[in-house]
Each structure stands twice: as structure tokens, then as C-alpha cells.
């Protein structure tokens, strides 16, 4: 029996090799580059010790990007859970057009983030659709992507609208896996819809919460494509996420070493936050079971 298992090990070696070549090696090389002053394309560079890592703590733009990444990560995650769960609860009930409604809410997930970003850039222009609507409602036209708070808010809003469909599907799947006998028993005991939701649906959706929150949080923390399409980190450097700042530092400012140091920080941040989140969610799940 033991021999069978040992021979089965051979089958994951190709996957291990691919993982090593395309993930582990680039990561380790990225760590090495973080200690150099490489411009990203030249054959020559020198090692500069901890200078790039030290700059992470003194650079205003890194602080801005770090803060923005947390806003994109947590802001989008919270909004996506609220909207996704609400949509799931509504669309779990049987009514005509339910499938169409589900499809419409999920449809934005299928649109590439870059396309979505460019669509919203046009809608948010001074002479764009959103300002037309604002004017019809009696307001003044606004340069939506010119102010940090508005632009960061726009990124969170568009990201939420685009990906709430994923949360909705996860919660719908979770709700459909809850046996109806629990609700029938609760009804016999006189529990109303809110008590049923709070006492049965929410606790039994914890695995779905863990999946949805983790996926949304990781996606939000490393958000790149939507930010790039919508603002490219501007105006100035104010809406950069850590991921777009890495790209901008590497390819535009030609600071490949600094960009790599940023990459290490992004990796460590996501690892730490998701590890803490997973531990927290697991503990709550155990307490409830």
C-alpha cells in the first residue's frame, strides 16, 4: 500500500517543476533584484544593500499606495459581501425572471476589468454620462477622477459593481446547500424570516463567507488592471495600488530594484492579512459547529 503511494508521488513532479520554474524562481530572482539599482533593462547594475527596502518606509507614494491597497481590498470586500449576500437572498426566492436577474448581476464578472475601466473612464468624463445624470438631477459637473477621494471611491465602486456577482454566486451555492428541514423546523418553532436568516442562514454560510471574503480580499489587495485602466494611479501618484506602483516604478520610472522591494512588501502584506483572516474565520467556524 505504502509503495503505491510512493509511486504516485512521481505524478506531481511535473507540476512541481512548472511551479518552481514559473513561480519560485521568478520570486527568488525578484528578491535578488530588490537589492540592486537595476533600471529594468540594462546588462549592468550594482548591489545597493538595503537601500530599496529602506525607501519603502520613507517614500510618500508607497504610503499612499499601501493605504489605497487596503481601501481597495477591504472597501471592495465589505461592499461586495453586503451587495452579494443581499442579491443572493433576494434571488434565492422563486419568482419569474429570477434566472435573468441572476445572469444580469453576474454578467459584469465576464467583462475584462480593462474594458470595464475604459468604459467608466468615458462615463466619468466632464462631458460623460454620469455628469449628464448629475446635471439632470440639478447638480454641477464634477471631475470625478481628478480628486484623490473621488477617484479612489470610483475604483472601489466600479470594482464592487464588477465582482459582486462572484460573491452572489458563492452565497447562492451556500444557501442552496442548507437543508430545508432546518427552516421547516424553525417555522414550527415560530421563528420569523429574520430569526431564520440570523439563526440558520448566516451560521451555515460561514464556509461561503470564508471563501468569498478571502477571494475578494486577495483580489482587492492586488488590484491592478482596473486601477490602471481607470486612473493609471493618477492624478499624480494618488490612486496607485501597490500593484500599479510596482508596474509604474519598474517600467516607467525605471527603478526595477525599488519595484521588486515593493513586490516583496505586497506579497508579505497579502500573506499576513489572509493568514490572519483565515485563522479568524476558522476559529469562528469551529465555535459555531
Amino acid at each position: 500500500m505504502e509503495r503505491t503511494y510512493r509511486s504516485a508521488n512521481v505524478f506531481y513532479i511535473p507540476a512541481l517543476i512548472l511551479f518552481g520554474v514559473f513561480v519560485v524562481y521568478p520570486f527568488l530572482d525578484g528578491v535578488r533584484i530588490a537589492f540592486t539599482n537595476w533600471n529594468g533593462y540594462s546588462r549592468s547594475y550594482s548591489y545597493v544593500g538595503l537601500r530599496n527596502l529602506a525607501r519603502l518606509f520613507s517614500d510618500r507614494n508607497v504610503r499612499l499606495a499601501f493605504g489605497n491597497s487596503l481601501i481597495y481590498g477591504f472597501g471592495s470586500t465589505i461592499l461586495q459581501q453586503i451587495l452579494g449576500l443581499s442579491a443572493a437572498v433576494l434571488l434565492d426566492k422563486k419568482f419569474p425572471g429570477r434566472t435573468v436577474a441572476r445572469t444580469i448581476l453576474y454578467l459584469p464578472v465576464l467583462v475584462p476589468a480593462v474594458t470595464m475601466g475604459y468604459m467608466w473612464v468615458q462615463l466619468l468624463r466632464l462631458d460623460g454620462g454620469v455628469n449628464d445624470l448629475v446635471q439632470v438631477l440639478g447638480g454641477h459637473r464634477v471631475l470625478w477622477l481628478s480628486d484623490r477621494a473621488l477617484a479612489v471611491g470610483a475604483v472601489v465602486a466600479v470594482n464592487t459593481l464588477q465582482y459582486m456577482g462572484i460573491s452572489m454566486v458563492i452565497y447562492l451555492a451556500g444557501m442552496q446547500a442548507i437543508p430545508s428541514v432546518y427552516y421547516e423546523a424553525a417555522q414550527l418553532d415560530g421563528a420569523g424570516p429574520w430569526e431564520q436568516f440570523r439563526g440558520i442562514t448566516i451560521p451555515l454560510l460561514y464556509p461561503a463567507f470564508a471563501t468569498s471574503i478571502t477571494l475578494n480580499l486577495i483580489g482587492g489587495l492586488k488590484l491592478f488592471d482596473l486601477v490602471w485602466a481607470l486612473t493609471s494611479g493618477g492624478p499624480g501618484y494618488t490612486t496607485h495600488s501597490l500593484a500599479t506602483l510596482i508596474y509604474s516604478s519598474y517600467f516607467e520610472s525605471q527603478l526595477a530594484g525599488f519595484a521588486s522591494a515593493n513586490g516583496i512588501m505586497l506579497f508579505a502584506t497579502i500573506l499576513a492579512i489572509t493568514a490572519m483572516l483565515q485563522a479568524g474565520l476558522r476559529r469562528t467556524e469551529v465555535e459555531l459547529s
Binding site: L126, G234, P235, T238, E252
Partner: protein
């Protein structure tokens, strides 16, 4: 019978494959930093076709690489480059490490003296064939200026320029269209490339040429350059959507007679002509910072081609470059861009069309290279663009913008 048909077919197929393979072995790739819709792309493609007709063993693929600069940087890092590529102003500072020196080429002695210092490195090596020379000032719509009562050639200093802007504003038009997208702020970087020499370089009595090159530049002096844009904004001289406009808007608004000035090369006039070919456009030299200096022009590389030093087809690539250097080919590309030719001699001449009178007027005006390419370390273009947009959008103050410029300058100088 059937067998012999198959056999003949097989032999023909093998022969065709062999011919194709031998052609493929001498296949050159020419990468350009323009879109396929650009007239330069069409012209280079036509030149390549002419060359291939005369050299049947060679095939040439002319490609418009997407996201050109980033793609080329990745290709350089991988040392996997096209046989020839355009260097968009960076033949020395960025690409020379990967290019073949061309000083031994037959056309070398014909390089236009205006462009020669710009494309020559410290060791005297030249790495590109320049088809034309970028000569740029501030583009304008003549009809808008006439209506506002502005004589463009009366503008000598920035104070004169501001007075002209006030008149244009009073006439109900946009004095300066900066484009100015917060998303893609290259138009703001371009503004600084135009303005910075007048404050820091062009004055023979007081300039910072040496300090900028040896690293001793006091970045407080950048404040006067950065401030001009803020002054324009605060005076209402910029387009109202100055943080969400685009480069295309500049040409469109100039064509529609809604905007007066654009801080771009003459390509913005080409853009305006797409929308209104009958419009009257021109350009003036960039004003001086004060009365103790004179207006100047911005000069630099425009359309160029260099040869990869490790190309497997270097001999073919150099021969193609020699073909490109023929008068008919150089003249063709220089005329498309309305610029002087990059090579000089009796057979080399370009047509400037409607801009001819303006080119005639700038004779004797001093030309200075693009500021960032000459005086800042490679990579600072992005810093100029983003700090400028930060100032425009009020997400940065002057001190923060200066500090960021200084930090990047020191950091990139250390590379």
C-alpha cells in the same frame, strides 16, 4: 500515375519549403513606435517593400509594437530585440547599449548638424539613421489669435505669453489646451519639456546646464518651472477639464477654433488637420523667461532607425538602413512629418507645406534638445509627468513636487 503525382507534389512541396526557409532565414524585423494607422508606419512599410523587390532573398516585417517603451525594455532585458527599431529620442541614453555604432556607414557624413550632437554619445558614436529633425515650438490656431488680437511673433517672454493668454481668454476661447489626463499625464510632462529650458538652460549668462549634468543642481530652481503651470491653471488659461482631457482633444479643439495654443511639436497640427484641414495653424519659438534672453526652439530625434548589435542579420539590416538613407526615402518621411531632413545634401529636401512661412521665420533661432533627454537621468520623464499632474490636480504642493523630482533625480543618477 497516381504515385508519380504524389511524388511530384512531394518534391514541389519540399522545394517550396526550402525556398520559404531560406527567405525566412533572411527575415528582418523593423519595430516602430507608431500605430499602424500612422503615416510614418505606412511610409516605412512602403520603403521596406521597395527594398524587398530589389532584394528577393530578404523579407522584412514592419511592426508597430504595442506599449512600445515597456515592450522594448522587456526585450532589452531579455536581449531579444528586433533587427531594427525606432528610438523615439532615446538612441543614446537608453538604447545605445544594444545598438550598432553607425559611424562607418556611407551616409554618416551627411547627418544634419542640428541633430548630430543630440544623437552622438560621449565617445562620438552615432547609433541611428535620422530621417528627420524634430523642430518644435508652441503650436497655435491662427484664426483664434487673430480674433483675440494677438500677434504670435510679438511674444518674446512668458509675460508676453500670459498677456496673449489673457486676450484669448477675454475672447471666450481656451488659451492653452494642455490635454492633461490624470490617467495619462504625458501631455503635462511635455509642457515641462517645453518650458524648462527657458528657465534653466537657454540663458547664456545664467543657466544650470553644468549643475544638472554633474548632479549639483539645486532643485529649488525647479520651482519656477513647476509654478508656471499652476499660474496658468489659476488664471483660467487651461482647458477646464485639464485633469481629464486627452491628447486627441487638443487637436480637436484647435481644429474647432476653440483653443489657441498647444505645447507640442508640429504633430499636433497634423492632428488638428485631421479634423479641420482648412484651418490656419502655425508655431512660434518657446518664449524666454526674461528680457535678458531670447526665445528658443526644441530640437531632437523624431523618426530614426538603429540596428541591433547582436542581430543575426546585421549585414542585411545595415544594407536596408543604407537603402533608407537614400534621398527619396529620407525626403518622404521628413515631408510626412513636416520636418527638416535628418541627412543633408543637394538631393535631401522636405516640404513643410502650410508651415513653410513659419520655418522661414525661425531661421537663426537657437535650438535646444528636449530637456529630460539631455539634462535628466533616464527614467525621469515619468517624474515630470506625475509631479506636474499632482500639482494641477492639487494632490501635491510645490514643495512635495520639488522633493519628488529631487529624490528621483538622485536615485536614477545612481544607476
Amino acid at each position: 500515375m497516381k504515385k508519380s503525382i504524389w511524388r511530384t507534389g512531394f518534391v514541389v512541396a519540399m522545394a517550396a519549403t526550402a525556398v520559404a526557409a531560406s527567405a525566412a532565414e533572411r527575415r528582418l524585423t523593423v519595430a516602430l513606435n507608431v500605430s499602424q494607422a500612422d503615416a510614418t508606419f505606412t511610409a516605412v512599410t512602403a520603403i521596406a517593400k521597395d527594398y524587398v523587390k530589389q532584394h528577393p532573398g530578404v523579407a522584412i516585417d514592419v511592426v508597430a509594437l504595442p506599449v512600445y517603451e515597456q515592450t522594448m525594455k522587456t526585450k532589452m532585458a531579455a536581449n531579444d530585440l528586433p533587427d531594427l527599431w525606432s528610438t523615439h529620442g532615446w538612441s543614446v541614453a537608453r538604447y545605445s547599449e544594444y545598438l550598432t555604432p553607425l559611424n562607418d556607414q556611407p551616409w554618416f557624413g551627411k547627418i544634419n548638424p542640428t541633430i548630430k550632437p543630440v544623437i552622438t554619445d560621449k565617445a562620438g558614436k552615432v547609433f541611428v539613421l535620422p530621417f528627420d529633425v524634430d523642430v518644435a515650438g508652441i503650436a497655435f490656431n491662427r484664426a483664434v489669435l487673430d480674433k483675440a488680437g494677438v500677434d504670435p511673433f510679438g511674444i518674446k517672454t512668458w509675460d508676453d505669453f500670459k498677456a496673449a493668454c489673457a486676450k484669448v481668454k477675454a475672447s471666450g476661447k481656451i488659451p492653452v489646451h494642455i490635454g492633461g489626463s490624470a490617467k495619462d499625464s504625458w501631455t503635462v510632462g511635455n509642457f515641462y519639456d517645453w518650458v524648462a529650458p527657458s528657465f534653466l538652460i537657454t540663458n547664456e549668462k545664467k543657466n544650470f546646464r553644468t549643475a544638472l549634468k554633474d548632479g549639483s543642481f539645486d532643485w529649488k530652481s525647479w520651482g519656477q518651472v513647476a509654478k508656471l503651470l499652476v499660474e496658468f491653471r489659476d488664471a483660467g488659461y487651461l482647458n477646464p477639464d485639464y485633469t481629464q482631457g486627452t491628447w486627441q482633444d487638443v487637436g480637436q479643439k484647435m481644429a474647432a477654433g476653440e483653443a489657441a495654443f498647444g505645447f507640442y511639436g508640429n504633430n499636433v497640427i497634423g492632428e488638428a488637420k485631421k479634423f479641420n484641414p482648412a484651418g490656419k495653424y502655425g508655431f512660434i519659438p518657446v518664449p524666454a523667461a526674461g528680457k535678458d534672453d531670447a526665445p528658443s526652439l526644441i530640437t531632437g530625434e523624431r523618426v530614426t532607425l538603429g540596428v541591433w548589435k547582436d542581430s543575426k542579420h546585421k549585414a542585411d539590416a545595415l544594407e536596408f538602413l543604407g537603402f533608407c538613407a537614400r534621398p527619396e526615402n529620407v525626403n518622404r518621411i521628413a515631408t510626412i512629418n513636416g520636418n527638416p531632413t535628418g541627412l543633408v545634401g543637394s538631393a535631401y529636401r522636405s516640404e513643410q507645406g502650410d508651415l513653410s512661412p513659419y520655418f522661414a521665420k525661425i531661421g537663426g533661432v537657437r535650438g535646444f534638445p528636449y530637456f529630460d533627454r539631455e539634462y535628466l537621468p533616464n527614467g525621469m520623464w515619468d517624474s515630470m509627468c506625475n509631479t506636474g499632474m499632482g500639482l494641477l490636480a492639487n494632490t501635491m504642493n510645490l514643495d512635495q513636487a520639488i522633493a519628488k523630482m529631487k529624490e528621483d533625480y538622485l536615485s536614477l543618477r545612481g544607476q
